[in-house]
């Protein structure tokens, strides 16, 4: 019995999960019906559903970011890619004569995701073929991307009137918000793609020891390239979700700082910025945590904008927990997963 408890505590996801649960319970003290769900017109509503729905774009991007970080990389351009994706979809729909038809929406969304994937190909090319440091390579698109998005929307906030497109973020299927379903679907696809194929293992191998992987015949270049394309694909869908939420493309504000939230979600979920072992479930919990934090702060009567302050504290704490130096200095025993991570860096 004690053994079981110990194994539970030592599990990679114990601390992130505990933090999330505590945060949720904290809400209960102020809002007694925080956990209650209700069905209205056959749709599920409730605070938890809101949190899930609002965290969907961050979660999508964070899933892709998890794989990028696992290869020792980073992608700063995801917010810009999301903005471009939204811009492409909205501008295309707004410009076509039958703006509100489902067909247009489908073509528009396909185009948007296609453009996002192309941008991912570009980032991946800079990183894996030209060998430019990821942070710099993606900084280029981070800077230019918003300009491109504005170029597409001609600097306007392009509003569209298309019910199918609007449903991407606000619609329901079998009682559940479509946004949640999309996010969970991508989560499932990512999980299958990495854990049912050998991609996950090869990504981890490249992230942990690039030279040993090369000598074992791993095609590191292809793998690295693939993850940048994948994160851009996720960003594209997230961009559609953000645009759909307001039925408008705002090139300036869409996905602003989402790269930071995504990176934060990955780090909270226990994936080390030094690369290597990654946890998609951890990222899921991390994204939920960030959204719950954003919900909790106003609930507790603290101005919502101070959210940043709490994020700063979370980043510092998580990083210190991952740093072998800090752990040695504090000489705190930490779960073995964190220990293992630390030693590689």
């Amino acid at each position: 019995m004690r053994d079981l408890g110990l194994r539970f505590v030592r599990h990679n996801l114990f601390w992130p999960t505990l933090a999330l649960v505590l945060l949720l319970l904290l809400n209960l003290t102020k809002t007694p019906d925080f956990f209650s769900l209700r069905v209205q017109d056959g749709h599920l509503y409730g605070s938890l559903i809101d949190i899930l729905r609002n965290s969907a774009p961050t979660l999508l991007i964070a899933l892709g970011m998890t794989l990028v970080i696992a290869t020792r990389g980073i992608d700063l351009s995801v917010g810009a890619v999301a903005a471009i994706s939204g811009a492409v979809a909205c501008t295309y729909m707004a410009g076509s004569p039958d703006e509100s038809t489902a067909g247009r929406a489908i073509i528009a969304m396909t185009m948007a995701v296609g453009v996002a994937v192309l941008l991912g190909v570009w980032n991946g090319f800079l990183v894996s073929v030209l060998g430019i440091q990821p942070i710099i390579a993606t900084l280029v698109l981070m800077t230019a991307g918003r300009g491109l998005a504005m170029l597409i929307t001609d600097g306007q906030i392009t509003t569209v009137n298309n019910s199918l497109f609007g449903k991407v973020s606000t619609g329901f299927v079998v009682g559940l918000p479509i946004a949640i379903l999309i996010a969970l679907a991508v989560f499932a696809i990512t999980a299958v793609l990495t854990r049912r194929t050998a991609l996950g293992m090869l990504i981890e191998a490249v992230g942990i020891n690039p030279e040993a992987s090369r000598l074992a015949g791993v095609r590191a270049r292809t793998i690295t390239w693939t993850v940048y394309v994948f994160v851009a694909f996720c960003s594209g869908i997230a961009g559609l979700m953000i645009a759909s939420n307001t039925s408008a493309a705002d090139a300036n504000a869409a996905g602003l700082f989402i790269e930071l939230d995504a990176i934060l979600a990955v780090v909270i979920g226990g994936t080390s910025l030094a690369g290597g072992r990654f946890s998609l479930t951890g990222t899921l919990i991390g994204a939920m945590f960030i959204q719950t934090l954003a919900t909790t702060i106003p609930t507790m009567g603290i101005p919502a904008e101070t959210n940043y302050l709490f994020k700063a504290v979370v980043v510092i704490v998580v990083c210190l927990l991952q740093s072998p130096k800090a752990r040695a200095a504090l000489s705190v025993r930490r779960p073995s997963s964190l220990l293992a991570k630390g030693a590689t860096s």
């Binding site: 060998g131 300009g147 998005a149 170029l151 904008e305 940043y308 302050l309 510092i316």
Partner: protein, 337 residues
């Protein structure tokens, strides 16, 4: 291997060969390229637009970007050591908030200035200590610093605060005339910072150690240099410069605004890279960063002079320039290593 019978032959004879193999990359090449770019842009603008050729165009760029020059100077120190500081934009905003709120509650201007500069430096110090002693990537530590400073802005006030202090307003409205043209006191501050930075980097042990750490931290350590002090020091300098830039920004806008300077860290990084500093550290000049700021400013002048070009071309152009310089750097580093 004829080591037993050493033929005494001067190694100098293999030198010409060495020169042929390595075309020496004098450290001024990148800066010259940036200056050439600047002159080229200025020339092109002068041909296309009436009134562009006036020296006031350049002086106005200085006036409108004096805070960015200060910020880029601080960022140059950090990048020269191979680090990065994402917190600078938020620290600028925080500085404007501290200045505006303390002035509103009646503090004297000198006390406010000291407080702001001290806050920025301490924030930099804390980040530097965490980066060096806990060996956490600068990216993530300064990201936390960015969140922290932005959060503190909102703790001070949720609204923007106007600045009505006499010292600040007179500084803001003051101009210095040079013949028919003018600059503001902020420009003088920025240029003084630039000169001091250049002197520190090139004429002090600290400055040379900054380059040594950027060239190879391991080597610097084995040479017995003060690596810890230097690595922490550059973040203190960057924090100080951010605070100073924040003061200049608060004078420029005469308010404390908690949403101000969003993304300014990217402008600063872009200016440093376009100014020819290697993002991997060890090579670059603060002068280059200042010229980099001028290039960014000139892009904006272009767009405002043109009238038909949309503002987003600024970002796209900066992105393209960044790419160009990053690619050139990549070629350059590949050749020498």
């Amino acid at each position: 291997m004829s080591a037993q019978a050493p033929t005494i032959k001067d190694l100098g004879s293999s030198l010409p060969d060495a020169i042929r193999r390595f075309t020496p990359p004098p450290r001024f090449y990148p800066v010259l390229a940036t200056i050439a770019l600047f002159i080229g842009m200025f020339g092109a603008g002068s041909i296309r637009y009436e009134g562009f050729s006036s020296p006031q165009t350049i002086l106005s760029v200085l006036v409108d970007n004096s805070f960015l020059i200060v910020l880029a100077v601080g960022m140059t120190f950090v990048i020269l050591t191979g680090g990065i500081d994402l917190s600078v934009g938020s620290v600028v905003a925080l500085s404007t908030m501290i200045a505006a709120s303390t002035l509103r509650s009646g503090w004297s201007a000198p006390l406010v200035i000291v407080t702001v500069l001290l806050t920025g430096s301490v924030l930099g110090l804390l980040m530097g200590l965490v980066i060096h002693y806990f060996e956490i990537q600068p990216f993530i530590v300064t990201l936390a610093g960015m969140f922290l400073a932005r959060g503190l802005c909102y703790v001070i006030s949720l609204e923007s605060i106007p600045i009505k202090n006499g010292t600040f307003t007179s500084f803001a409205s003051g101009t210095i005339e040079i013949g028919d043209y003018f600059i503001t006191p902020s420009v003088v501050v920025a240029l003084v910072v630039l000169v001091i930075a250049a002197v520190v980097l090139h004429m002090t042990r600290f400055g040379r150690t900054v380059y040594a750490v950027g060239g190879s931290e391991q080597s610097a350590l084995l040479m017995g240099l003060a690596v810890a002090g230097t690595k922490v020091g550059v973040y203190v300098i960057s924090g100080f410069c951010s605070a100073l830039a924040g003061l200049l920004f608060s004078i420029y806008t005469l308010s404390g605004y908690n949403l101000g300077a969003v993304g300014m860290e990217l402008d600063a990084i872009a200016a440093v890279v376009i100014g020819g500093t290697l993002l991997t550290g060890g090579s670059g000049l603060v002068l280059g960063s200042a010229v980099g700021v001028l290039v960014l400013g000139l892009i904006q002048s272009f767009i405002s002079f043109d009238g038909t070009l949309s503002s987003w071309w600024t970002k796209i152009t900066i992105g393209v320039l960044l790419l160009a310089f990053v690619l050139i750097q990549r070629l350059f580093t590949r050749r020498t290593t």
